[in-house]
């Protein structure tokens, strides 16, 4: 089993009104359920279906994901910094599992 790990890059500080770039990557196989392993057995479907980003508790961005998005889903998106706060990144898997990551930013 491969470890599923969330990674992300959020600038530590930003100025008021600055548009920052946030990078996230979830180490995840995105098994479509159509690929066979070395022994010829079908690898069961296991995909990320949703990605959600909250800032100070408010949903600011989300993605409905289909299996045509690559394995290890990599997303770069913008955010306009106004106040300091905390980001919560959430990945939902079709198996019901969730993966979470927290980051914070100081706006000066």
């Amino acid at each position: 089993m491969t470890d599923i790990k969330a990674r992300g890059k959020v600038p530590k500080t930003a100025t008021v009104g600055e548009i920052i770039e946030i990078k996230t990557l979830l180490k995840h196989p995105m098994h479509t359920g159509r690929v066979k392993d070395a022994e010829g057995k079908i690898i069961p479907r296991k995909v990320i279906t949703d990605f959600r980003v909250y800032f100070n508790g408010n949903l600011i961005f989300s993605i409905e994901i289909e299996p045509s998005l690559s394995s290890n889903p990599y997303i770069v998106f913008p955010f306009k910094a106004k106040v300091s706060g905390n980001f919560e990144f959430l990945w939902l898997e079709d198996t019901g599992k969730e993966y979470k990551m927290l980051k914070s930013i100081t706006v000066i």
Binding site: T32, S68, S70
Partner: protein, 153 residues
């Protein structure tokens, strides 16, 4: 391998070269899959005509690895509370599931731009549909040649 190469005649050799190059260069997009994308777009936009908005959709012209094809886009919008991009849909007409993703934006993002990676199992068209908060929409598309196909998504 060498022995078998030497016994093929010129006609076979020409056929081989032609068929391989054709396989790489002609996108195998069936009409049905393209229609599927158009019907998705029609459903979402209720058949209204697209408006003219600046969309930058960046994809490689030729993708060597179909498993990880980089896609970036930016849709022109002030991203204000009363004027912003609500959703961006990405479709690919050569995939088993032509829907790739729906990005749901909010004005708090400041601009409407994304970079990500997608799978392309063969050469095909990638479509971007941007839906604005007032219900209007804009479309862009790009043809990608894939030399080494990725998974069927």
């Amino acid at each position: 391998m060498k022995a078998s190469m030497s016994i093929i005649n010129r006609r076979q050799a020409v056929f081989c070269i032609l068929s391989t190059s054709l396989a790489f260069h002609i996108p195998k997009v069936t009409k049905a899959s393209q229609e599927k994308v158009f019907s998705y777009i029609e459903d979402i936009t209720s058949g209204q005509k697209p408006i003219d908005k600046k969309i930058s959709l960046k994809l490689p012209k030729v993708a060597e690895d179909g498993n990880q094809v980089k896609i970036s886009f930016e849709v022109e919008s002030p991203m204000l509370d009363d004027n912003f991009v609500e959703s961006v849909y990405i479709f690919a007409d050569g995939q088993r599931t032509p829907k790739v993703a729906r990005f749901i934006f909010t004005p708090s993002m400041g601009i409407c731009s994304i970079t990500t990676k997608m799978r392309l199992s063969r050469s095909q068209n990638v479509y971007l549909l941007a839906v604005f908060n007032d219900g209007r929409h804009a479309i862009s598309s790009s043809l990608v040649e894939v030399t080494n196909g990725g998974c069927e998504g």
